[in-house]
Amino acid sequence: MNLYKYASPTMFYPLAGKMIPWFSTAAAILFTTGLFVGFFIAPSDFQQGEAYRIIFIHVPAAWMGMFLYVLMAIYAGIGWAFNARLASMMASSLAITGAMFTAISLVTGAFWGKPTWGTWWVWDARMTSTLILMFLYIGFISLQAAIDDPRKADRAGAVLALVGVINVPIIYFSVNWWNTLHQGATIRILQKPTIRGSMLAALLIMLAACWLYSVAVVLMRLRCIILEREQNAARFAEVGV
């Protein structure tokens, strides 16, 4: 079976179309299950009471934000190194979903911080790093938006994404350092509650749900990008594949 044909955007388009319904249905089912377990089965936390239940969306969103950035950089790199258009289109598609999850992570983090620590924003290492990740996403999206030629935008974005991904550990390290220095006392902000079995289960189910959702949404956007950029794919739109 020749899988390499799917490296062509035009060939991948119908395959992506077939994949989307499966992933979105699975995502919907897992979201429901995860929230059910998180709200109806997991008990309330000893220290934080009910407020901790925000982690069931906050933590998966944060992980997805980080994971999608790395994935985006990998696809962008492949698209640049192998001159593979589809890989670059994947990177561009991932960017917006990754930024969205990062935004969710920031907002839900603020909503979690207010009842537990009294302030909407805390400059702890994780929230600050998430904020910087948001800036990195915005940079990538802005750069690609500013360049008219699609292939040039792909390659420029690849350089930026790869520079960013190499910098991310350095940035995280420096933010951690900055945070411990200025904090003095060892208060761990936004400390996770002691994880019980059902909490962990809910967390993992929600993470899987977010991942499945991401696949579906990224493929949807990818199809739009293919339609916009590929001449041959135009016929698919007319026919309703």
Binding site: A146, K152, V163, W177
Partner: protein
Amino acid sequence: MLRWIVWRDLMLAWRRRTDMLSTVFFFVIVVSLFPLGIGPETQLLRTIAPGVVWVAALLASMLSLGRLFANDYHDGTLEQLLLTPQPLVLVVLGKTLAHWIVAEVPLVLIAPLVGVQFDLSSQTLWVLFASLLLGTPVLSLIGSVGAALTLGLRGGGVLISILVLPLYIPALIFGSGAVAASIMGMSAAPHLSLLGAFAIVSLLFSPWATAAALRISLE
């Protein structure tokens, strides 16, 4: 070749001295605005001084980065430089070095003077000087990547800032941290060594990224 590139850029910058001066003036004005905006209480000023001076240096660098490649790009010299048998990385290094000399060193030299506005001790002023001396190469190096990526694009200076400022954050943290440590009477050595390490890493990686970005922008 490297010497030639550096010398050429220095000569060109000297012909447009006012650009160089305006960067310095911008730096001085921005730093002076903070006490005006916050209040003259010396204890508070001493606390904010490291961050303020460093952020002002970052912003002043943003202004000068646009000029790094743009002039050569507009008159076609950059394309010619790409076609020479010399490795592009060498060209990039030369131009970045020239940028550092022209745009950043004046900031480093004048920083202790503006630091006096914040009632910093002379030892702290030395640390400030050292931190900027180590940190400004990073600003030039990482900034050159942003300048190369945004060549000829609309959105110009703001776009460079969006791309490059997040990448400057480690330098900002270690640089201002060094000064803050000195103010509190502690050793700035760990901060400065981390800053130095970051500078070396930037030197090792940025020129290649910038060269790649130049080829992409000029195709």
